[in-house]
Symmetry: C2
Subunit: 482 residues, 2 copies
């Protein structure tokens, strides 16, 4: 038995960190032995899933009017110098290309950490009139950051695979509309397809992206009670577009400044949340739509009739799902454990005894349940399961997420919520500069962070700031963060 086929020897809720490390290696998601620190080799089992994740996200973006581009992976140093707050934010993390062959390049080139400084110089050439706006782009790309923090496979690597959208708008209102559209996209894809519950925050003023005027982000919860920032959206500071000379001629004939936004779903990082949110002590659980393989057929005995049945089922099922037959030499029990660990949504076990009774056994990983089905019903049943599978994962994940959110009225209560791995919902004085002191108290005394205000918050604060007791102007969420 290969090492990768052994079960996971750590419990998710007892030793999350070890569980995470083991699942990545045992389910063969990534090989961590590549000889540059912080870089990994993504293996087929994760790549097949992430390719499907890309498809759903890109298709949705195109439906919403984003056009695809491929920009160079390198950006001249001088582009970075154009917007000083941006440079300050990213320079410590930039990998620099300095030589071509044995020759020194005339100017160092940054391996893109993000592509504003590449897109914006082209926006300068492309945007002329109000008729060109909104100008909505996206690109699928790999980006590079020389992280100084400890890296963690999928979650924080020095190279990751993402999508970045860059958009140009005529007004701040239009930019804000784009942010709300991005929130909706996050719901439609991250929640409804990948099955990840999240809160979409506007970050406090002290916690903005380098060069951003306003920062928004979706936080997903880990079982250890920490949140992970997944896609973020930014309204970029107008000074940034100005530095690149992007303006447009409005209907009134006047040259006007633009408002730009960006949205960055990092597919390889979101994949980490999929492992974490859905996985259990047996291994992975893939939402149906993004499973590398949806259905695995396992012949229990080597037998002609079973083989015929397996091939016939495969032929029918592959019309609507990715299906494979496991003809390997492993024993049936090993196969069962193996495919449960790999997170296959539905397994079909074909045994002689079942077949004699014209029955077939299905195992569904959403509910971890066996179903014994009339052999004529199998294809129909698999189709039914395919339609409810992800919904079942979502239902479970949503419940866990909602149960973790607790109201808290003062520092003591916040501490209690955080200690129990929850997210504290509190009334708070201010998410602007005035609230920074309270945020520091939260950080120092509780070891947690003010994550911001919910962008689609419908309630208003009624009382006092849970930290300083001053007038509460916002409802914020406090959590420990990864």
């Amino acid at each position: 038995m290969k090492k990768s086929e052994e079960g996971i020897a750590a419990k998710k809720n007892e030793d999350f960190s070890e569980w995470y490390t083991q699942i990545i290696q045992k389910a063969e998601l990534a090989d961590l032995r590549y000889n540059i620190k912080g870089f990994l080799v993504f293996q087929p089992w994760s790549v097949l899933s992430m390719e499907k994740m890309y498809d759903y996200m890109e298709k949705r973006l195109r439906q919403k009017g984003h056009k695809p581009y491929w920009f160079p992976a390198v950006i001249p140093e001088s582009n970075f110098k154009k917007e000083s707050s941006h440079v300050k934010g990213f320079t410590p993390e930039v990998f620099w290309v300095t030589h071509g062959g044995t020759k020194k390049l005339e100017e160092p080139l940054a391996l893109r950490p993000t592509s504003e400084t590449a897109f914006y110089q082209m926006f300068n050439l492309w945007i002329r009139s109000y008729k060109d706006l909104p100008f909505k782009t996206y690109q699928r790309a790999n980006v590079f950051r020389h992280e100084t923090k400890a890296t963690r496979p999928f979650l924080r690597s020095r190279e990751f695979h993402w999508i970045e959208t860059h958009c140009v708008h005529a007004t701040e209102d239009d930019a804000m509309k784009q942010v709300k559209e991005d929130m909706q996209t996050t719901k439609e894809v991250l929640h409804d397809i990948y099955g990840l519950p999240f809160i979409f925050f506007e970050r406090p003023s002290w916690d903005k992206f380098a060069g951003a005027y306003k920062t928004f982000a979706a936080d997903v919860l880990n079982p250890d009670g920490k949140v992970i920032q997944q896609p973020s959206t930014h309204i970029i500071a107008p000074s940034f577009a100005k530095a690149f000379g992007i303006t447009y001629k409005d209907k009134d004939g006047k040259e006007k400044p633009v408002y730009t936004t960006c949205y960055g779903p990092a597919i390889s990082r979101i994949f980490a949340s999929i492992i974490i949110v859905h996985g259990d002590d047996k291994g992975l659980k893939f939402p149906w739509e993004i499973a590398p393989v949806n259905v695995m057929i396992v012949p229990i005995q080597e037998d002609k009739k079973i083989k015929e049945k397996a091939e016939a089922l495969k032929k029918e099922i592959e019309k609507f799902a990715d299906v494979e037959i496991d003809y390997s030499e492993r024993r049936p029990g090993e196969k069962f454990n193996h495919w449960e660990m790999k997170g296959i949504p539905v397994r079909i076990d074909l045994g002689l005894k079942d077949l004699e009774n014209k029955k077939v056994t299905l195992f569904r990983r959403d509910l971890d349940k066996k179903e014994i089905i009339n052999e004529k019903e199998v294809v129909k049943r698999v189709k039914e399961i395919s339609e409810e599978f992800t919904k079942n994962l979502i239902k479970k994940a949503d419940k866990i997420f909602q149960d973790r959110i607790k109201d808290a009225k003062n520092v003591k209560e916040i501490k209690e919520v955080i200690k129990n791995g929850g997210i504290a919902r509190v009334e708070f004085c201010s998410v602007d500069k005035a609230g920074e002191k309270c945020a520091e108290i939260v950080e120092k005394e509780i070891g947690a962070e003010v994550r911001g205000t919910k962008l689609d918050e419908t309630q208003k604060p009624k009382g006092k700031c849970a930290v300083c007791g001053g007038k509460a102007n916002h409802i914020v969420y406090i959590a420990r963060a990864y």
Copy 2:
């Protein structure tokens, strides 16, 4: 009218080079104004098509048992030094990453020019037994070469988007089987879907890839009579795998060396051949399967009935094709020219007069013909056209290609064939070292190259070498090359 909407002001057969430059800019395939030499910004019209190209090629590779990986884009210098002939081949073209933030890296990292040296160190860890073989991988990636030759958009850039397969085999025979499978894949995808005629050559011994034991490649013809090398396949020199310590334990319990192969369809470069082979003086012609948009509906007048009809047609057609409606402010004639230039396979013109007669006008770009159709037949007709469209492009391209191949018996005849933009098919003394002198004569006297022997050649030479008059051992093809 925007610059991009003007027609192409050069004839493909008169000034090919200018035609090519103009079509890229006017059809908005790539913007060449990015501020690093040799790097370009791929625009939506090429990206949408290349994404479809990727899909077809990757799907085919997976069907043939290749598993997808994402390797890091950077490779340590020491990996390059492991195989000296490889280093010699690539070092002058490598971009080097030397700094992370303000710190010098401990070891320079190569921006991958190709990924053998990344994959092979992992093969060393992954390959143990004959049961692991063949081990077939692929990755979709962007690669970087600090070209010293003049760059040309899509054809030769400093960054290009490709697929690389890397495979490990137990025997040289198995490696050779893989090469033949790669040739078959090239036929199934490059020819049958992208519509590109080619000859699959084994290159002469003096024209091999850096580090290759044997090199094979598909040559596609340009209208100027030059050939372009498209995917190449290599059996890598065994010393290369040896340098990385890749061996396997055979059935007999003995440790044995492996044979490795690679195959590199460069999607962004193949896209150049699609522009060149199918395009005409009006602009692009996309094969149906890889057109960014298959069907463009053009309302001739602004009218409620026309709009309803357009939307109804769109709804039906989008079940099997990518379809859009052009509601822009351009005049109908401009729209016609615009979409012909952009290479849309089928245009549906909706005018009031036609509609009164219950007719609709279709324009199909494969035959450049209008068809007036009963309005009830439109969807059916578009479906029919979709099935014959690429076949028509292929028929035309195949004929042009075949007509250019001419037998030649001596240097004078070869010169004549080459002068007329053809490919000379000649009997030749040797594709090994012994033939190098004759190849030099071909190069010096004719300005052309011996491209190699056809891998699926069925005929045998009967006479003398067309150059030196010695015994002919091979049938080779001679052409000018890009």
